[in-house]
Amino acid sequence: MKYIIKKLFMMIVTLLVVSICVFLAFNIIPGDPALRMLGTEASPELVEQTRQEMGLNDPLPVRYGRWLFGFVQGDFGTSYNYKIPVKDMVISKVPITLTMAVMAFLLTILISIPLGILTARHEGGLLDRILMVTDQIVMSIPPFFSGILITLIFGMVLRLFTPGGFTNYTVDVGKFIRYLFFPSLAIALPKVAMTVKMLRGSLLDESMKDYARTAYSRGNNTNGVLYRHVLKNAMIPVITFLGMALADMVAGSIVIEQVFSIPGISRILMTSISNRDYPVVEAIIMGIAMIVISVNFLVDVVYRIVDPRIGLEE
């Protein structure tokens, strides 16, 4: 329990540091936000008045405090370009991106863990060699290219889904999930490959350790040693990796949404970047960072459950 509180506190510290970094990054950019909002033809008086209204004349720490306070309450600022609250622009898109990332994550776990065990059990055999080469190749395909290949093969040749035929969750949840399956697969594939390789290595390392020998000496068969002893130990580094992978998948969905023309967060993010609509970019970046950091916290908690040694050494 003490460990979890400690990690929770660490998470809040990291979140604060991240928020400072993000805030500073977007506030040292040359250019006057008021001017950007009003356009270049606005009169100096109007600009000054807007500056006053937006609180841009206050010192940096005050502005940071206000921004953070607003952020916590769900006020993410106002878009320069559309003059509407960022929240309204983003909120309906969040479930799309998140569903995709979570589906990709589940796919990764479902595919990679059985495959990892399979390759480790057949270490050095033909199956292992074929899988390992395939693994390396899959790892080398960038997600957007595998997205394109999937569209080409499953969408156009096999006609398993209609490219571009996205259905929103507000219309039909079943169709929504079905459409997101292939994009999620594209996000998951490289992570699957990495997890398989990692789990295989970890399983082989662990099965060389002394406690595995002890397990054999008690009359365990290979399966007994693998499932009763080695697997749990081997999962410890894999859990860390999966945590980082989930974070990466949220970011990876940015590219994949473009490939499959899914109207998620990424489309807004990319337009906002090219339009220099900073409040929107700032809010989305901060949001993703928050997700990533919370995932890291969850990983720490899972870690503690799997490995009793964690957090007790001190």
């Binding site: 990291t14 991240v18 290219f145 940015i254 990319m270 970047i273 220099r276």
Partner: protein, 274 residues
């Protein structure tokens, strides 16, 4: 030195991963190096008469929607991709090693602060961090290089710091300290040579990640701007023609895959060194 040659020869013969890694990497490097001196066509030259042609003798990889030769554009694009990946890894390695070595060795309050910042940066997936930097400094390949470079510093710093921490408490470091070795000499002469192996493999992995990140970002339209070619941008342009003219989308894609595959085979081959 002779034993090195022998070992490489032996591995080339027996170590399948190493052999194919060498072959693929040499092929890609050949593509880039030849492209420095000679390309079949000017990569930006359009030809309205030859739009979206398939693979032929005149255009070994076909042409794109503006009639430009895909092979020439791939040659140019892979040069940029390799350059940015190498630059990224160089920035990441040098800055990461210095930060990691100093914080790991000296520890203390500065270490705490820098590691908190590194942790915070680590919370951003590298694509995201690059997006932030590009959105601040604008779009272009130099910004992209800078953005990816900075995005890669935390992981290198973390790895080096961990290794230095591990080495710092080893007996041989204390032994050297007893003989009067200074801190600076300790870090750079005694400790760093011991993390060569780890650094080498993280460079190979980092290089691949850099290639993938560069391709991803230029797919999103951040990076080399038209009319200059980049592999990622070519894919995003080609995507809408993929059913009618698959060679246009497949060729640049396969080159990216091979580029990454070559290095990851090399890495795998080195880890199975005989």
């Amino acid at each position: 030195m002779n034993s090195y040659k022998k070992a490489i020869h032996k591995n080339f013969k027996e170590n399948t991963f190493f052999r194919w890694g060498c072959i693929i990497t040499v092929l890609i490097l050949l593509l880039v190096v030849v492209g420095l001196f000679w390309m079949p066509y000017e990569p930006t030259a359009m030809n309205a008469a030859e739009k979206l042609k398939g693979i032929s003798l005149r255009h070994p990889m076909g042409t794109d929607n503006m009639g430009r030769d895909v092979l020439s554009r791939v040659m140019y694009g892979s040069r940029i991709t390799l350059l940015i990946a190498a630059g990224t890894v160089a920035i990441g390695t040098v800055a990461g090693t210095i930060i990691g070595a100093l914080t790991g060795y000296f520890g203390g309050m500065l270490d705490e602060i820098i590691m908190r910042i590194i942790d915070a940066l680590f919370a951003f997936p590298s694509i995201l961090l690059a997006l932030v930097i590009v959105s601040i400094f604008g779009i272009g390949w130099i910004q992209l290089l800078l953005a990816l470079g900075i995005a890669f510093v935390p992981s290198f710093a973390r790895i080096v710091r961990g290794e230095v921490l591990r080495c710092r408490n080893m007996d041989y470091v204390e032994n050297a300290r007893l003989q009067g070795v200074s801190d600076f000499r300790m870090i750079f002469v005694h400790i760093l040579p011991n993390i060569r192996g780890v650094l080498m493999s993280s460079i190979l992995i980092g290089f691949n990640n850099a290639v993938l990140a560069e391709a991803g970002l230029s797919y999103l339209g951040i990076g080399s701007q038209p009319p200059y070619a980049s592999l990622g941008k070519m894919l995003s342009d080609a995507q809408q023609y993929m059913f009618g003219n698959p060679s246009y989308v497949l060729c640049p894609g396969i080159v990216i895959v091979l580029m990454v595959l070559g290095f990851s085979f090399l890495g795998e081959g080195i880890s199975r060194w005989k």
